[in-house]
């Protein structure tokens, strides 16, 4: 083993039933480096981390740690910590009701009694040493999330730690807090700790990392030094160049934004999850939000629908100022939203297909005006036929339908309310190719009838095929808008990567 290498993973394979999550992945970490692990959702980043921390057993491959002769086998996070591999997770895994010092030491001492004085003194030394702005006696829950994260890191590195894994540590921090965290990471790097940095914020990778390892579809794409890999190249490697081969993208015959004025307009709209942004859509327009996962595209459309608590912004529907702070407001203004997470936000699993279809219409009409059984049956039959939903009967519970058909039921639910503006968040994820094309065709047909549609998909070529305007998001801000000639795979990637450096 080379002198400065602290961790090597060779030929790691991990299979789940029907899926190869990791296929012969290699990973090398050197002393005192910050090594970014990149890849789109489902590329295998978290699986690799979970194998390394013993959450999942690996099916093949070997892991070696500096200072230990033989390859090691890790069964649990506790065992990993014993080998000097510590992890700080995205969600804080500390106890908010205990003090900072306790959180750093609880569960580590074999002693039965607690010596508060010496514990607080030691904690104070570590915090001061690492420049973490927290006081030992402070209640952890009263620190900011960033400081809590840093306390977690302080705890992790205090145990003789060679490898520190930071799994999406910045996802709930603001810019200044991220900078604080980076300061701490650089400090630890100077002390010789090897840091694995998992994130989907490209700019953050370039701000602190020395090396980047890219995974795609469970396979290793490669390991690169940061200086030698410009952002555009990184995005290409993450998404996969093979998409460029799809030159046969049919330029769709979507109309450009008509001059009739905006159907929906938002200025400075923000929610608990989304930062303030401006947005508008015209009658009959199909536009889309794109960007890497976590760039804020879903959060933005959720803000439009009021699905997360709205914190500000002025909204006009058909030129009239309205207030949309909760989904019911949006529905009453003729806005429909097909959520990204169908299982959580979409279907009501135990209700029948029919009940799921009439749900939104019933809510708009209000509970005092129930739809009659005959009406409900008529509506359900109409849409089951129109969208060719494959179900044994309208009475079948929706849980027994396939993903694509469940999606169509949710779509039917919104079409039944005759919305003037429909938001589709990942309507084609996890459904078969045939249904995908059907849904795309339906989107175009509805827009011809004058409906405004916002469409989100992780497949860029699908968006290019349906949208006449693309809003590109990066790091929770709108990075650019593309229309007309600019709508190309390459231009989208350039904008995602940031100005095409």
């Amino acid at each position: 083993m080379q002198e400065d290498i602290v961790l090597t993973m060779r030929g790691i394979c991990k299979y789940f039933p029907g899926v190869t999550a990791l296929n012969r992945v290699d990973f090398t970490l050197r002393r005192g480096e910050i090594h970014a692990l990149m890849g789109e959702n489902g590329a295998g980043k978290s699986t690799l981390i979970k194998v390394l921390t013993g959450v999942y057993p690996m099916d093949a491959g070997e892991i070696r740690v500096d200072g230990i002769e033989n390859p090691i086998v890790i069964h649990s996070p506790q065992e990993a910590a014993g080998f000097g591999i510590s992890t700080v997770y995205q969600e804080i895994t500390l106890c908010p009701n205990l003090t900072v010092a306790e959180n750093m030491f609880i569960g580590r001492s074999p002693k039965k009694s607690v010596n508060w004085k010496s514990m607080e003194k030691r904690a104070g030394e570590i915090l001061e040493n690492l420049g973490i702005p927290a006081r030992p006696k402070q209640q952890l829950g009263r620190c900011s999330i960033a400081v809590q994260q840093m306390v977690a890191i302080a705890r992790a590195v205090d145990t003789d730690c060679k490898v520190l894994i930071l799994d999406e540590p910045t996802s709930s921090l603001d810019d200044r807090e991220v900078e604080m965290l980076f300061g701490l990471m650089r400090e630890l790097k100077a002390r010789g700790v090897g840091i694995i940095f998992v994130t989907h914020f490209l700019e953050q990778v370039y701000a602190v990392s020395d090396r980047i390892t890219v995974l795609r579809n469970g396979e290793l794409v490669g390991e690169y030094e940061v200086e030698k890999l410009p952002q555009v190249a990184l995005v290409e490697k993450m998404i996969g160049k093979d998409l460029e081969d799809l030159s046969s993208i049919q330029k769709s015959e979507v109309q450009a934004a008509s001059e009739t004025g905006d159907l929906y307009e938002a200025k400075g709209l923000s929610s608990s999850e989304a930062e303030a942004f401006d947005f508008h859509i015209a009658k009959g327009e199909v536009n889309g939000f794109t960007g890497l996962l976590g760039s804020g595209r879903s959060e933005s459309v959720r803000a439009i629908f009021g699905a997360d608590p709205v914190t500000g912004g002025a909204i006009r529907v058909n030129g009239k100022a309205v207030k949309i702070t909760k989904p019911l407001d949006a529905m009453k203004n003729g806005i429909g939203y097909l959520p990204e997470d169908r299982k959580r936000d979409g279907i009501i699993a135990d209700l029948s297909v029919r009940d799921n279809i009439i749900l939104a219409l019933q809510v708009i009409k209000g509970m005092r005006h129930p739809l009659s059984r005959a009406q409900a049956e008529a509506f359900a039959d109409e849409y089951i036929k129109a969208l060719s939903i494959k179900t044994a009967s309208p009475d079948t519970p929706i849980r027994s339908l396939s993903g694509g058909n469940q999606q169509k039921v949710i779509l039917a639910r919104w079409l039944l309310t005759h919305p003037q503006y429909l938001i589709l968040d990942e309507p084609t994820r996890g459904i078969d190719v045939g249904t995908k094309t059907e849904i795309q065709k339906l989107v175009l047909k509805l827009s011809e009838e004058g409906m405004g549609i916002t469409f989100i998909s992780s497949e860029i070529e699908e968006m290019l095929r349906t949208c006449s305007r693309l809003i590109v998001m990066r790091d929770r801000h709108i990075a650019g808008e593309l229309t007309g000639e600019e709508l190309s795979q390459e231009q989208v990637m350039r904008t995602i990567a940031g100005g095409g450096e």
Partner: protein
Amino acid sequence: MENGKKSPSSRRREPITDTQLLLTITVCIFIAMYVGAMFIWGGGFKKPQMLFDMLNDNAFLIIISCGLTIVMITGSIDISVGGVTALVAMVSVMILNGNLGLFNGMIGALGLPEESRIFFALLMSLFIGLAFGAVQGFLIAYLQIQPFIITLAGMFFARGMITIISVDPQKAPQELMDILQTRINISWLGSVNKKGVLIPARMEIGVIIALIIVILVFFLLRKRQLGRSFYAVGGNPQSALMLGINVRRTRFYAHLLSGLFSGIAGFVFMMHTGAGNATNATAAEMNAIASSIIGGTLLSGGVGNVAGTFFGVLTLSTIKSVVTTSGLRDPWWQSISTGAMLCLFILLQSLVLMHRRKGGNGK
């Protein structure tokens, strides 16, 4: 807003934690109420014996509440405690009476004096308490069954057992009760009665036991790893697990201690009343929960303090005394005012905590 970001070198005093804040509120309210009663009604409230009577009557409740506070800190609940207390009291009385053959036989065979029955009664009390705690703790911690359901079953089981042992109320023999009801006289806190005779303040042994348990639990919660684990598990069990705490064992110990304390409380109850009865310690579990809550323990877990619980019991008892003294002698007035006070306390707690959440920069 940004009080979390000051430089670490400034060694100013820490803002008090939620636990300390709630404790302070409880103590203040108790003192305000007691002093207020002293001024308004004077009389009994001005005599120290009033306070000692409260302690004498509620020693068993203090002990139960200590166990319940621990259980509630871990985010669990134990409503079997009243039933176990009553069961233990009944069993103890039966042993003292010589009605349980097994112990009589043993005492006879060993040639021990009659007084040794007290020792066996105590031993049996501890055993019953531990047995309830262990079984309930095992089912809750290791088989992960809802604590409410398990301890509800435990409560019915214990109450049922009492009636199996004896349908009729039992009374312990007077000569043994004389030993058990030894009172500690504190003459300097005594008061002079109408005839000019000094009556010393009297405290029962049970109060000493209760105070010792309060102090022991206080140090357990503050100074021992196990005590801190109770807080960690109640604060966030998933995090506690990640921090290397044996969550299941911690939960088990919490229920074991609660069971043990119900056993001790049962013995103390018997020492106070000298009687075993199926309706003993009725609703004691509810009073214990109320006391813990008044003392600043949150039902949601992670926050609590046994000193608060101690004052919670006293506060609850003061409310009842105040209601009685003010002339509302019908029993329902006690219930109504207790309910109203409990509501007020919880409202006050959540308002204070909500205010702190908003003022702080954390979540």
